[in-house]
Amino acid sequence: MSVKGRFTSPPLRLNLGPAGLNFARADIEVYGLDQSGPSYEGRIFLNNPRADAETPPLPENGYAGSFHVYGYGIWPGDIGKDRETRALQSDDIRAPIRKDVIATEAVRAAATRGPDISITIVPVYPGNPPRDANEALKLEGARIVIHEDDLFSDEDAIPA
């Protein structure tokens, strides 16, 4: 089920392996991400559900990194239609995508303070100051993926 606008996950319990907090890498995966509309930056904050477009993207605010959506914008078949009526098949070039944000130290810092971590995504349009882009964000969800070692296989790297 898609979520539109600001996104905050419920607390996510990390599945740490034998390495514990000494994992090699942690990714924040944002999946089912709509790319059919405008372009924007998705700022990711950990354990800061109050973060918004005015929250400085700094570690002390739980900032873990950003992903960027390069939206399709105009689509000939959609001219005159509302964006909500689009139904995109899985082989459509505008089908939802996944973004993998490498956030190793931010996740480690959050995990050091407790096993449950919430993910908040704040969409912004570029500018000075950046503008809220809540109407652009549409996704299925987000999760944290821990890699015990840095030996990335093709199975690990399913195309995003």
């Binding site: 790319q35 899985s90 995508i97 399913i158």
Partner: protein, 256 residues
């Protein structure tokens, strides 16, 4: 050219070379005035409006169940065909890369020549209902928001091609958003002349990664994938020397 190999240089080096941009300006200018399949609108329209043949991110192709990501090889083929078309108008032209990690880029943003020269500052676009045909526009953000050399250098240690491509694509996506305007969306970005130099930088980064991680470092099941509408497969675009071009100072890292 050297020994039949086209040498791609940076925009900054061409700006600092007397008449360095003349051939590119001449080639682009002529293409922008041609309305048939040798022209700017035709070739730019392959990416977004109206043909939408570009490849971004992992997805299943027609008839496939398993997603794969042809972003890098598809755009390499696209740039190659586009460059050949530019060189049909001026044989001395070569696509220059825009190093958005450089100190200069982080000071001024868009390169001077691409901000002021009429042929390089914008490109013609077809009518896209309800808008009439027009020139492209930009709305760039603060230069400090461009990717850094450190952002790119971190990618060089990612030994898996799919992982590297995924991370590089996000940097790519961020620059499209940074330039904004028509560069900001897939539908219209390729009509902007800076698009080609942005993608030249992306292709150069892939080339630098290949030098460190292997030219043939790509999943085996990608090799025979066709790069439509170009008469090339993924296998055919892995070695840029075989494609007839090279990057000046290929062993020099970004940000210099």
């Amino acid at each position: 050219m050297a020994n039949g190999i086209t040498i791609r240089s940076s925009i900054e080096s061409l700006e600092n070379t007397p008449n360095g941009l003349d051939a590119l300006r001449d080639g682009y200018g002529k293409m922008q005035g041609i309305s048939d399949n040798r022209g700017w609108i035709y070739w730019s329209g392959i990416h977004g409006f109206a043909q939408f043949m570009c490849w971004h991110h992992g997805r299943a192709g027609m008839g496939d169940l398993v997603p794969y990501d042809l972003f890098l090889p598809w755009h390499r083929a696209y740039l190659l065909y586009f460059e050949h078309t530019v060189r049909d108008q001026n044989n001395d032209a070569a696509l220059p890369w825009w190093d958005w990690t450089s100190d200069n880029a982080h000071t001024i943003g868009i390169p001077n020549s691409f901000a002021t020269d009429p042929v390089l500052a914008s490109g013609p676009m077809p009518a896209i209902p309800p808008d009439a045909a027009r020139q492209t526009n930009r709305s760039s953000a603060d230069p400090g928001g461009l990717p850094t050399a450190d952002d790119v250098n971190k990618l060089m240690s990612l030994g898996n091609f799919v992982d590297f491509s995924t991370q590089l694509q996000d940097i790519h996506d961020s620059v499209h958003g940074w330039v904004s305007g028509d560069m900001g969306v897939v539908a219209t970005s390729a009509f902007d002349p800076i698009f080609w130099s942005h993608h030249c930088m992306i292709d150069r980064i892939w080339c630098l990664w290949q030098l460190q991680n292997g030219v043939n470092n790509i999943p085996a099941d990608y090799l025979d994938k066709a790069l439509a509408p170009f008469a090339l497969t993924v296998q055919g675009v892995l070695d840029i020397n075989r494609l007839g071009y090279e990057y000046a100072d290929a062993l020099v890292t970004v940000g210099t």
